[in-house]
Subunit: 637 residues, 2 copies
């Protein structure tokens, strides 16, 4: 689940060009030997792509690589399909598909870049069967495809990779039931059982117990193999194909980070519980050591099959320009939560396998008895919080916003109907970081939760606003709340006021202007962009006011009307879909306050699904860059 | 899941008063004998309540009754808790709790009435531990309570009843994993395994296979008993209590409708596949036969334990006044879907155990190969539809709106990011029927789904608008859509135009008025109420225009501005929460069109969770009755 955004590796990066893969495929070695060598070569390219992008999942790309390579090189025919349900292993899959000409080879230089290869699979990219990155949907999707294949009389096999942590999601088990009942024997699920999930081991996070017995009890043909033993894989896939009545699952016992000794989950004793290579690019030094290790095994492999040494392509990647002074919200959140917990012993924290991303380690270590790690099981987590709240506790529930606002959507509503107080804290909010793609870019939560009675959604525009807003949610607001947090470091010209106390529906003037036009925005990214746009406009003779409004779904229309005076234009900027975001709350509040007479109103925000790309690319693509905002304001005036 | 709303039974209704229960509890018979007799007496009162209310779930209230009676009479102590995760069996539980003075006895006359006993449990009612009615959340809730009990050092046992159809929900299996890992031995789950779900048998809908093996593989202490054998129940509960390491599940093999011979699932051979007594009140004749059968067994029971005959209270219930000419949307939907399917062989229909409620039997029987019954597994259903759409099919996905818009919320979004076309059809939309309560009253779907790119949400105000809107969704609109349907018959003065063709964001003038004020509404209930309010206002000298706008999240601001002319007031009426409903779409569209100058704007809709009650009571409570609408318009003018 975690999707750590680190820095691209600078220095010499290595990869292999397509002809090198062609030679291995064409050589005289056994299928097993060719596959192993091909897989190591694809690992090298995967490592290159992630180093170059600055983020991506090495661990599961490597653990699943032998399976993926075998499937594409030897198993799949005709209309057969493969996809990964978790999709985190996309870089590994891209490395295979670029080597096989399913994807243009040049795309390997554009991982997590716009018009390149998105952080998680998207059907707009050749070879991608379905959009994944949101967990647990793959088997259901495969069943739908199998149904269509039957109906259209186009028989084919469908191979679905799942993670092991992913099996904590309820949809997985939901999907197994009907697959067995409908005898969807054309579906084979391969569990990449690498034993380590985002934060820690599966065992520690939320053990899956006897996995074989579970699948068997759900009526699936169940096999368990060493996922790096290609002979075993071939035999298991044969056996799966021969069962014409039951869907099959192959539990592939793999090693996270397989292929680079010090990245392998099993080998770093001290780090098994804090695996370094789940997501994010490696440090430069680790990159080089890893690449060298792969290169020398690739050279050995060529020797073993009687091929000449391949030529390794290199790219010199300059160091990223440093500079600026970006601020981060999460350190402030960690501190604020600890501070509140010290003062109120009823506060408990719940997490869904994102302890590190959500800044929860200090809380867990300080209050181990008040912390519940739920695993990747957001529905279960939210309903557990509901039970706790009914018993008088004050739960603070954590996940990425994209998941927290949607997967347990009905559960959050159910809790709200009980009139208890629960604070939901969503990380990775908004369109940035752009790299992970739309499964992780959360631009829909105001709409998804905003109509729930008494639900207050708030977003700080500065680290210094985190503590006051958390305090407001916990101690002032009478109802559930959602604290929306941007996860990336971001530069902002917005100055917080240390003595600020939130008042429902009200915000702060971030830039005074001359009152001719007002831009209303929220959050770290939104407010920063609005201020930048206003600065740009001032060069064009427009001196716009910027209001930073931390309340996303509640707007005090009278306060706002007074604040904006007789501005001729009100423009709202949503780091969210344009429909049913903060802009709508502003429009209705002003309309009901009778404050939209004789001025223009425009809403800016996302209209289409955001692409995957660098942060600047994505802001531009979704129209939240300063230039687009400024142009829209100017055009409206 | 189904929640059939039928008519209250007229004629003589029978129930037993509290003292009769007290005498049985105090008599000298064995605990087992007393419990059985008490359970039959509670069945009589349950039958009375449902007959009186006109709806409620007899089948599962009866199948679970012996378990519930045993728990309350003999098992639970101190802070121990019991609740039903499905909550459909609430009438049975109410019958027990009123007999035990947990609930005021008089409440038995107010099932599904306001300030009475809601259709599904609500914590505002004495003895209700958590809000249920939405399936699959109970075990998670219980885990949260157990955590709180441990933290607060208040040890207690928690008993959770689940249905068997309910086990198709993924959250159930999600919740089992961590319960085993945390050794939540204080939780005992009892599965009311009555083998029949809303539409058909569990076996036919989506078989659960080897249920014991499933629970065992999830690490739970698993027992299977005859759920009407009180000795076996006592022993199983003892064994569960003695396991201090594992949570326990007792699979109680029960008979749906147990206690009235012809209502028992096992006895009506021809009706096992279409069980008559899942929800809805019985026919008057069936009521009387059922009550007589219970009465004679209760009399025998009294004799057996040496008690005098109890006095049966009677109430004469007058026949409901007939009249009016309500219209229904679903027959039109059934016909429209069949018509479309005839013309386009790519159309497939998916359902989640609501074939009857969603009017799908004719489709299924006509196109068995194009119909998929998914069981109570909405996430799986929606992702399956996603897979089908990727393969070129045109899926139409069915459930109640309350579930369809929320449980698979992330899955619907994921499908949308693939740019396929899928039509979601939600029944039981809006605040009516009022009886089932907030788990089933769907007043949040515009918000929950409305911001998804290209998602069009539409709602017909008249049966004749169903076919054009379905046609628009399937054949005109480029994107996913949600067809929001009211399920109850409703009287309306709105006249549809048979030749009407939908145009995105535009609607029809339902009442002309003099242009001084405009009420904008949608759907069968909303439009009817708006017209009634306008008629009422005309008595007060206000001649309001009514616009019926079938597009819920898309409004053509220019068209609307032109249509409403220079009205001094625009009032929107949402059969939905006020925030992020159609009213917001109207406000933003008018604001962006510059059409809110010099007129007032008000939004009407729900601000608080709707209560359970009769339809008139609920409309009044949520402010959607004609009187409240008219008063608000008048006050604003």
């Amino acid at each position: 689940m975690g999707d750590l955004i680190t820095e691209a590796v600078s220095g010499t990066l290595y990869y292999l060009d397509k002809p090198a893969f062609d030679r291995v495929q064409a050589c005289n070695a056994s299928a097993e030997q060719r596959t192993s060598l091909f897989a190591d070569m694809a690992r090298l390219n995967t490592l290159y792509m992630i180093a170059n992008a600055g983020s991506g999942h090495i661990g599961s790309s490597f653990s699943s690589m032998d399976v993926v390579a075998w499937l594409y090189l030897n198993e799949m025919k005709g209309e057969d399909l493969y996809f990964s349900s978790k999709g985190h292993d996309a870089p590994g899959l891209y490395a295979v598909l670029t080597a096989l000409d399913v994807l243009p080879f040049d795309k390997i230089h554009k991982l997590r870049k716009i018009d390149g290869l998105p952080g998680h699979p998207d059907v707009g990219v050749a070879g991608m069967v379905t959009n994944t990155g949101s967990l647990g949907m793959g088997i259901s999707k495969a069943k739908g495809m199998a149904f269509a294949n039957r109906m259209l009389d186009k028989p084919a096999r469908i191979y679905v990779m799942t993670g092991d942590g992913e099996l904590q999601e309820g949809q997985i088990w939901e999907s197994l039931i009907s697959a067995a009942n409908h005898g969807v024997a054309e579906v084979t699920v391969i569990v990449d059982h690498n034993k380590i999930q985002s934060d820690y081991s599966v065992e520690r996070t939320s053990s899956l117990g006897d996995l074989e017995a579970k699948f068997e009890s759900f009526g699936w043909h169940t096999q368990s193999i060493d996922g790096h033993d290609i002979d075993a894989m071939r035999d298991a896939l044969n056996a799966a194909r021969q069962d014409e009545k039951r869907p099959s699952v192959i539990i592939a016992n793999t090693i996270k980070g397989k292929g680079v000794s010090f990245m392998e989950g099993v080998s770093v004793d001290s780090d098994v519980e804090r695996f370094q290579f789940h997501s994010g690019a490696p440090q430069a030094e680790d990159y080089t050591r890893g690449a060298q290790e792969l290169i020398s095994r690739i050279l050995d492999g060529h020797k073993a099959v009687g091929l000449p040494e391949p030529e390794f392509e290199t790219i010199e990647r300059p160091a990223a320009p440093q500079g600026g002074n970006p601020v981060k919200l999460f350190p402030s959140y960690t501190a604020a939560l600890l501070d509140q917990a010290k003062r109120n012993e009823k506060i408990v924290a719940l997490d869904a396998d994102l302890v590190l991303d959500m800044g929860l380690e200090p809380f867990r270590d300080t209050h181990p008895d008040r912390f519940v790690e739920c695993g990747i099981a957001e529905m279960d987590m939210v309903s557990q919080a509901g039970g706790m709240a009914l018993k008088g506790l004050l739960p603070v529930v954590h996940s990425f916003s994209c998941f927290l606002s949607t997967r347990p959507n009905e559960q959050i509503y159910n809790n709200a109907t009980e009139h208890t107080k629960i604070v939901y804290v969503g990380g990775l909010s908004g369109a940035l970081p752009g790299g992970p793609g739309h499964s992780h870019q959360s631009v829909r939560e105001i709409s998804a939760l905003g109509s729930i009675p008494k639900m207050a959604m708030v977003e700080p525009a500065h680290p210094d606003e985190v503590a006051p807003l958390l305090d407001w949610c916990l101690n002032t607001h009478d109802g559930p709340s959602f604290l929306r947090l941007v996860s990336i470091p971001y530069e902002t010209a917005y100055e917080a006021d240390a003595s600020w106390t939130p008042a429902a529906g009200q915000g702060r003037v971030a830039r005074k202007g001359d009152g001719s036009a007002v831009i209303i925005a929220s959050g770290l990214v939104g407010t920063a962009q609005a201020i930048k746009a206003a600065e740009r406009l001032s060069g064009d003779g427009v001196d716009a006011m910027v209001v930073s409004l931390p309340f996303l779904n509640i707007v005090d229309g009278d306060w706002l009307a007074k604040t904006i005076g007789d501005a001729k234009l009100v423009a709202t900027v949503d780091n969210h879909y344009r429909r049913y975001g903060q802009g709508d709350a502003v429009a209705t509040a002003l309309a009901e306050a009778g404050a939209l007479s004789n001025r223009k109103f425009i809403r800016l925000g996302l209209d289409l699904t955001p692409p995957s790309g660098t942060n600047d690319q994505v802001l531009k693509a979704v129209g939240l860059d300063e230039e687009t905002i400024a142009a829209a304001v100017k055009a409206a005036l």
